[in-house]
Symmetry: C2
Subunit: 495 residues, 2 copies
Amino acid sequence: MEGVSSEAASLAGHLSLGRLIYLYDDNHISIDGSTDLAFTENRAARFRSYGWQVLRVEDGNDVEAIDKAIQEAKPDPRPSLLVCRTIIGFGAPHKQGTAKAHGEPLGDEELNAAKDNLGWPKEPRFFIPDDVLAFYREAVDRGRELEYDWKMKLDAYQRLHPVQGAELQRRLKGKLPEGWDSALPTFPLDAKGMATRAASGKVINALAPKLPELIGGSADLAPSNNTKIEGSPAFQKDSYNGRNFHFGVREHAMGSILNGMAVFGGVIPYGGTFLVFSDYMRPAIRLAALSHYPSIFIFTHDSVGLGEDGPTHQPVEQLMSLRLIPNLVVIRPADANETVKAWKVAVERRDGPTLLALTRQAVPTFDTISTQVERGAYVLKDFSKPEIILMASGSEVSLILEAAQKLADEGKGVRVVSFPSWELFEKQDEAYRESVLPKNIQKRLAVEAGASLGWERYARSVIGIDRYGASAPAKVIFDKLGFTVENVVAKAKEL
Amino acid sequence: MEGVSSEAASLAGHLSLGRLIYLYDDNHISIDGSTDLAFTENRAARFRSYGWQVLRVEDGNDVEAIDKAIQEAKPDPRPSLLVCRTIIGFGAPHKQGTAKAHGEPLGDEELNAAKDNLGWPKEPRFFIPDDVLAFYREAVDRGRELEYDWKMKLDAYQRLHPVQGAELQRRLKGKLPEGWDSALPTFPLDAKGMATRAASGKVINALAPKLPELIGGSADLAPSNNTKIEGSPAFQKDSYNGRNFHFGVREHAMGSILNGMAVFGGVIPYGGTFLVFSDYMRPAIRLAALSHYPSIFIFTHDSVGLGEDGPTHQPVEQLMSLRLIPNLVVIRPADANETVKAWKVAVERRDGPTLLALTRQAVPTFDTISTQVERGAYVLKDFSKPEIILMASGSEVSLILEAAQKLADEGKGVRVVSFPSWELFEKQDEAYRESVLPKNIQKRLAVEAGASLGWERYARSVIGIDRYGASAPAKVIFDKLGFTVENVVAKAKEL
């Protein structure tokens, strides 16, 4: 019933993923009762409409029939749905075939009755018949043999093709190639600069030749997300060698598919959409974080600065709400060079997901001397001995830098902190954190084009956005919402 | 392609919503290019599998053909999909039928060429032909007549049936009946208490006879969410008078459907699921907030206290991430009586959505004397002259009350603040907020079984959860994660 399963099945049909076989436990029961209460569509016909093969197993307890269906499904070039008619809680005389068998433990009496039905002893309560145990124990030997065969094959391959063999091993182990990061570009100081989404696109294409395992795409926003690997075909049913995925307008499935690829291994998958649509795939982002999958999420158009698309497309609360997800590293780089470093963190982080929040609009490129994205926050510049700290992430860093200059011109001591990632900063030791944000400087102003809630952790005053956006060019909106040098200077002076 | 459209269409087919007619603008183009890149399923067959009538309009510019299809769709008892084959950017010679006509403005040259194609003048740029203007102007008269006819009908109905007529007017205007809130229950002081989800179920059923416009349901968790209105049938295709909706396992569609009902008016819709699954419907919650729809979202199992279902089902970051959504009122009541007041706020709030976060587990019922949910936060109890403030929401309020008692026994002055709703508190005037949280008491500890990020706004120290949960009974998890009287007392003493 969940929408994500429709999205994923539609794409699997489109891509003709013939090795995919679903066993649908068709027990006609959900928590509210019969599935007839809410779910009377023709499921088999739906999956056929996606381009799937659909097979039926009339008795889902008939192991031979299931095996036969799987054998039939395997050679078919389409993905297959095996509709297995089952009885939930089979054998429990009063609860079988009812919602009670889903939502509640059977209880002693019902368990005893079920055991009587099956001719099983009442003790031990958790009983494993000898023949079942023997059957499963065989799986250990069978698995050992299969693994041995596979290793022999791999060894033979490696002897015949030493270079490709080593490369395959490297990828399966998830090791990065020697010197991979020498491909990372640096961008020259440039007041006009570029959008961080554009810088991200350049990084992807700089890395692509060195990291053949880097694959990804977008939920139908490739030209906007700058996710395309040039010179590689699209991943399609007749081009599984393609590195560019067209996920369609299916953010939730995209996130789930990235997670599947990331945990399978051998590839470094990334996927892009607008930051506001992270809401559509939030369960997949959470699952990646919970399960330590190294998926890379690319979210562009990361503030009201995206302009005329208006409030439905303008993220406000998303950035902070993503920082709330445990074990997710959120990075919002301030310029092209921070974007390079953000990608370095993402590629090297193999025990959890990384998320990049990138601008649509151009931002100035700073020099690279001090860029320390990997530390989460760092001193971009001190204007004489600081008595106040201005901190920001992403597109607002250039704004506070300008404001700091103005304050400095008036003789104030100001520190400018670029704060691309909370999670990375909070992993630093106490001494480093104190060196960036000394306890004795409590006059601190945070500036971020997103919800202010949360910044109280680091700052005494916040310029944020606690309302929805508006439809206008970036500069007009930023001015209206207080993201101006004048306002930053004024708020700093209040402190 | 979006999953939510699959969820909604499946339910519409199930419910046989024959008055629903979709016009599918089938232009074969998405932002990445041809829809063939990602979307080759048989859409017509998919909708037929949902139980829809599917009709085709071969030329989507043929207004007569569209009208004919609509006339054909109307009498059919099924919802209808009209697949209208169109050409995006029709008439623009270089961009028509391409993704450029979706993602970019036409530009001057292309616009001129399109106008040449259509035989239209180049100026004015935004040109409305006279016959088009005349046709649309007629709609004003036509609408006036239709409205007049409808008003006559309504008046006649009201004369014939004065009671029902007045009731219909009341509901259409969204006015609550006189004395509706006299039906609200109060719960006696009770150390054992009850789950706030159970209290919510009692409130719904107490209000149901007085508020016939109150309708709702659950995304297949009715027995867990306590959302059922007793004595009313389910809303099904043969019982549109039913007040209980079975949305199925379709959270995103549920949220969207609630929004549709709320903005249409005449009803007060609510929908329930587990708090962790709010992630699945977050875009719908945001849309309600953005568009000022008075949808009511009931989220039970609101913390790791839900027990053995484990981390995938245990909300951690959800509560605070929902507080981040502008214009959404989030209420997490501490006991049965706060739950009553939370419902009062939700029913009375007609210009935006309200969200209730409710416990699975029993919590003590306090007396009702001080309960002031509508103010967002209030002093539940002062133990002598307070030198420290303990604050909490929901199930943690009874915990801080116990801890405060212990601190008081040791001679400390402690204030206990129940903090069910940030948004409601932040709407109070400065004087009230100062009376609850005086600036001169900075020793403040917040305790909440969710992400701590954000509580720095009000408290200097936080006992929160910044990791995923674990699978164990509520008490065991709470102990492990530091939600014990001993830990609260210790943290308070540190301050």
